[in-house]
């Protein structure tokens, strides 16, 4: 990891991270503010329970899951769909900008003309990616702690922390394959298309698999099966194995990316 490069790259992304963080915290503030009102209104809960399971799946609520908890509410309204897509898109776009875009527009030439090896440049860019990802996840979890505290909602803090770690490893894997495509194609548009296409394919499989029993096997093909916010937050699923699996996959992919990037011809 090169300190000067990390500092410069982080400086480039800090405004973007700050803007996304502000958006997340404000949205969480809104959700935690309205939840007590909704929870007291039994009619709203009845409507939520009467929604068909296929429709619930579209909003990221697992089949047969409870609908009367704060975890169900925050998962359906935020974590299971909006947050996961926001973070995934951030990871894909940033991974692309940190590698493929810099090769494509030639700005990597200056960095590669220094006595810092390609693998060190890659590890620094990965460091920027992971650290900004960590900041966004931390802001999300601590923002929710704050929101629930202010609204008097009781939550199991430890479960939310574990969910944050799961999110971090899940998005790290998406960022890892985005970096891999960047190193492989060294072309912004193609790398972005493949990374976004793969993520949307996983997302589509997750939704399609929940629409009917016949299609439920599709879910098993989706990476999103490893990311089940409501179940983790309610404590019905242990995220430890998904975290380990996702982290190992990210490490392997990063190693492959390093091998590819070290030997790639860079016409810059």
């Amino acid at each position: 990891m090169n300190r000067a490069l990390f500092r410069a790259m982080f400086k480039q992304y800090r405004k973007k991270v700050a803007a996304i963080s502000t958006g997340i915290v404000l949205y969480e503030g809104l959700l935690t503010w309205v939840y007590p009102v909704i929870a007291k209104n039994s009619a709203v809960m009845e409507i939520a329970e009467s929604i068909p399971s296929a429709v619930k799946t579209v909003f990221g609520v697992p089949e047969n899951a409870r609908t009367d908890t704060f975890e169900a509410f925050i998962s359906g309204q935020f974590f299971a769909r909006i947050w996961v897509m926001l973070m995934a898109l951030y990871g894909i776009e940033t991974a692309n900008a940190l590698l493929a875009k810099m090769v494509d527009d030639g700005s990597l030439a200056f960095l590669l003309s220094t006595p810092v090896s390609r693998s060190e440049i890659l590890s620094t860019q990965t460091g920027v990616l992971i650290s900004t990802n960590s900041i966004l996840v931390a802001v999300t979890i601590f923002g929710l702690y704050f929101g629930t505290f202010c609204s008097g909602i009781e939550i199991e803090h430890w479960r939310y922390l574990r969910f944050g770690i799961l999110g971090l490893s899940f998005f790290s894997l998406i960022e890892s394959y985005s970096l891999f495509f960047s190193a492989w194609f060294v072309e912004e548009e193609r790398a972005l298309t493949y990374a976004a296409g793969l993520t949307l394919a996983f997302y589509g499989l997750d939704i399609a698999g929940g629409l009917s029993d016949k299609l439920s096997w599709l879910k098993k093909l989706s990476l999103f099966q490893l990311f089940q916010p409501q179940e983790v937050l309610e404590g019905t699923t242990d995220p430890a194995w998904p975290i380990i699996g996702l982290s190992i996959a990210s490490t392997v992919l990063w190693y492959l990316t390093k091998k590819v990037f070290e030997t790639k011809d860079l016409a810059i």
Partner: protein
């Protein structure tokens, strides 16, 4: 210092460089001349370890430019031909980054201040708000401030105004006095002529010649345009030993190699309405090699 032996690198679409060999001794300057797409930048990319050669051996100070590229960059400063920066940084941020990725020593900062003042650049401006010339200056400063023993510059003066081109040449001559080895590609013969001892001419991926600048000067053609007053003058001009190409009416293009004595003799016999020297273009200067 720089050794290129039988270097071949062909891209998928068929462009590239074939069987290039050259050598640049320590403390000397080598100019690499050729038209667009001739293979100058490809050669430099191999030297910088950005791309791997298909065959041949390329070394700088006996370090292999591909296998030991990190070692090579400890002794090399580089200015890319196409300048693309991280646009959200200011000039000072960018130079701090490059210095930090080298050794971040005090000497680099001193050098930076010197070159910033010589090239008159405001470093506080965001790079995306800089003009092409300002970006070129920033690139030159980032290459020269490192005080590396080898300078590899790809068309360093493109985008600079004539005044700054002169300042740049003066700075390069100062660097040469310090014993630096220079490898510089250019379209401009004048720039190479003033800074380099040797020049290589490349076209369509093949190195046509490597000659000393003094040899090239002898082979250099100068081109003039003349318009004479009458047909009689035109006849007299035609009878002279000069290499003439008629354009229209009494207008001719005269190409002269080496000494200009014959030209002055012919001009003394005719009445000229108009006489001017054409700007010396690379294509003209090296026509013999190109044919």
């Amino acid at each position: 210092m720089i050794k290129v032996k039988e270097l071949t690198k062909v891209y998928r679409e068929g462009r590239g460089i074939r069987n290039i060999s050259l050598q640049v001794d320590a403390g000397t300057a080598f100019g690499f001349l050729g038209p667009n797409g001739a293979g100058k930048t490809t050669t430099i990319r191999v030297l910088m370890g950005f791309i791997k050669s298909d065959s041949g051996r390329v070394t700088i100070d006996d370090y292999d430019c591909w296998r030991e590229k990190t070692e090579v960059k400890k002794i090399v400063s580089y200015l890319p031909g196409e300048l693309h920066f991280m646009e959200n940084l200011t000039g000072v941020d960018f130079l701090d980054l490059i210095a930090g990725m080298h050794c971040d020593c005090l000497q680099i900062k001193k050098n930076r201040d010197y070159f910033v003042s010589a090239l008159d650049l405001d470093l506080k401006i965001l790079i995306r708000k800089m003009s092409k010339g300002m970006k070129q200056k920033l690139g030159i400063i980032s290459a020269l401030m490192l005080d590396a023993s080898v300078l590899i510059l790809d068309e360093p003066t493109s985008g600079l105004d004539p005044l700054m081109q002169k300042v740049f040449i003066d700075l390069i001559l100062e660097e040469k006095k310090k014993g630096k080895t220079l490898f510089m590609s250019s379209h401009q013969f004048a720039e190479i002529e003033r800074t380099c001892e040797q020049a290589g001419i490349i076209r369509e991926g093949k190195l046509l010649a490597v000659q000393s600048i003094s040899q090239l000067r002898e082979a250099e053609y100068q081109t003039f345009e003349i318009e004479v007053e009458s047909e009689k003058d035109a006849e007299l001009l035609k009878q002279s030993q000069l290499n003439l190409t008629p354009i229209q009416g009494g207008c001719f293009v005269i190409r002269v190699a080496g000494e200009l004595d014959n030209l002055w003799l012919a001009l003394a016999q005719v009445r000229a309405k108009r006489f001017r020297q054409r700007s010396l273009e690379l294509e003209e200067a090296f026509m013999d090699f190109y044919r």
